[in-house]
């Protein structure tokens, strides 16, 4: 990861947000930069740019990882609104302390570690373990689907989510991080505070149980 000058390390994000020309939300210039970044830049490069005050790089980092952070938090907290709020706190905390990211791990792994801490804090604050379900979270929209098919699909989605809800947390997270966001077993292990082997077992056992449960329902 390119190291910004020491004097810039803690100021880059602030400078990006204090410079109207760089930050103005929805400015065409910002989106042009973003489009370039989407095809060309790795997380590490974007982090370096963000530390140097590039608001477009900050936005791209958020857009690139908002899904995985939200789904990870939803798997822990169970409530879509709480997960979204916690995801916002995660990004604000991470991007405000971006200078402390040393590149020892992938940026996504670092982000998920922060998300896990935020979730723990949220659970402590609310004094509860997860109790609600993922049912309220909207599924991925398919604009081409006709209404009848959409209704069938919504039923199917609800059925899958109910089944996933039944899995223990680490199995649910291992399955979700793998199938929704394509994380490696190593990344899953780091995100769930497990070993790589345990993450693999959790994933395969979770998939097997989901298949059993969903087949039972069909039968």
């Amino acid at each position: 990861m390119p190291e910004p000058p020491a004097s810039d390390a803690g100021q880059g994000i602030k400078r990006a947000f204090n410079d109207p020309g760089r930050l103005a939300i929805n400015s065409p210039e910002r989106h042009r930069t973003m489009e370039f970044g989407q095809t060309a830049h790795s997380d590490e490069v974007l982090v370096g740019q963000a530390l140097n005050g590039d608001g477009a790089a900050v936005e791209l980092l958020v857009r690139r990882h908002e899904g995985v952070v939200f789904r990870f938090l939803l798997g822990i907290l169970g409530d879509p609104d709480q997960a979204a709020d916690c995801a916002q706190d995660t990004f604000v905390r991470a991007l405000s302390s971006l200078a402390s990211f040393r590149g020892d791990s992938a940026f996504r792994t670092w982000l998920l570690a922060i998300a896990r801490n935020e979730a723990r804090g949220a659970l402590r604050k609310s004094g509860r373990r997860r109790e609600s379900s993922m049912d309220d979270a909207p599924p991925i929209e398919d604009p081409t689907a006709d209404p009848e098919r959409s209704a069938i699909r919504a039923t199917e989605v609800a059925r899958v989510r109910k089944a996933m809800e039944r899995l223990p947390e680490k199995q649910r997270l291992s399955v979700a991080l793998r199938i929704f966001d394509g994380l490696s077993f190593r990344e899953v292990a780091e995100a769930t505070d497990s070993t790589e082997g345990a993450a693999r077992v959790n994933y395969h056992h979770g998939i097997r149980r989901l298949r059993e449960w969903l087949n039972e329902q069909e039968g």
Partner: protein, 185 residues
């Protein structure tokens, strides 16, 4: 499904081995096929395996059907984050910057007891393999884990082979591999 000739080599679970990809590797790769991830094996070889192996192809379809239910964030999330960052940046200069002591947690090094546990696990596995060679029945996974946990009462597999079960993260890779084979069978 393209089920090819019946006389070819069969691997575990009746899967063909003509593609040079075994079922365990293929199933590990199932969720990554639709992402630009680094795969353990070349993508064409994996796809050829799914073309020939019905159980693995079914798992691929199943995972894709699960993916259709992926929850997504409400629109405008990123703009909300940017606005909050902007507000924080334009706050009073004297406000302390957020510098949480957040670093990626490193797994603790194995304690002496941990090393002992791992060594015990290896010994148990070695004894298990040894007993196989002598023709006697191998110890069950449950008994291996019970031995590993120094005689602690072990619940039925369906109860403890779950995430969050206190034992799973403490098990050595060799035993986890045994469990994986058990899941696949």
């Amino acid at each position: 499904m393209n089920r090819k000739d019946e006389g070819q080599m069969k691997g575990p679970n009746g899967a063909p081995e003509s593609t040079g990809v075994d079922c365990a590797t293929a199933r590990d790769a199932v969720p990554l096929l639709d992402f630009p991830s680094d795969l353990e094996l070349p993508r064409p070889a994996l796809l050829a395996h799914f073309d020939e192996c019905e159980p693995c192809a079914e798992e691929l379809l199943f995972v894709r059907s699960l993916r259709a239910g992926a929850p997504v964030l409400r629109p405008g999330f990123a703009d909300g984050v940017l606005r909050r960052l902007e507000q924080e940046a334009s706050g009073p200069a004297s406000a302390p910057s957020v510098q949480p002591k957040l670093v990626v947690e490193r797994r603790p090094k194995l304690s002496r007891a941990g090393w002992g546990l791992s060594a015990a696990a290896l010994l148990i596995l070695a004894l298990g393999i040894g007993s196989l060679w002598q023709g006697s029945a191998p110890p069950s996974v449950e008994s291996l884990v019970a031995s590993l946990l120094d005689g602690a009462e072990v619940e039925p597999r369906e109860q403890w082979l779950v995430a969050g079960a206190p034992h799973l993260d403490a098990l050595p890779d060799e035993l986890l591999y045994t469990l994986l084979q058990d899941i696949d069978s």
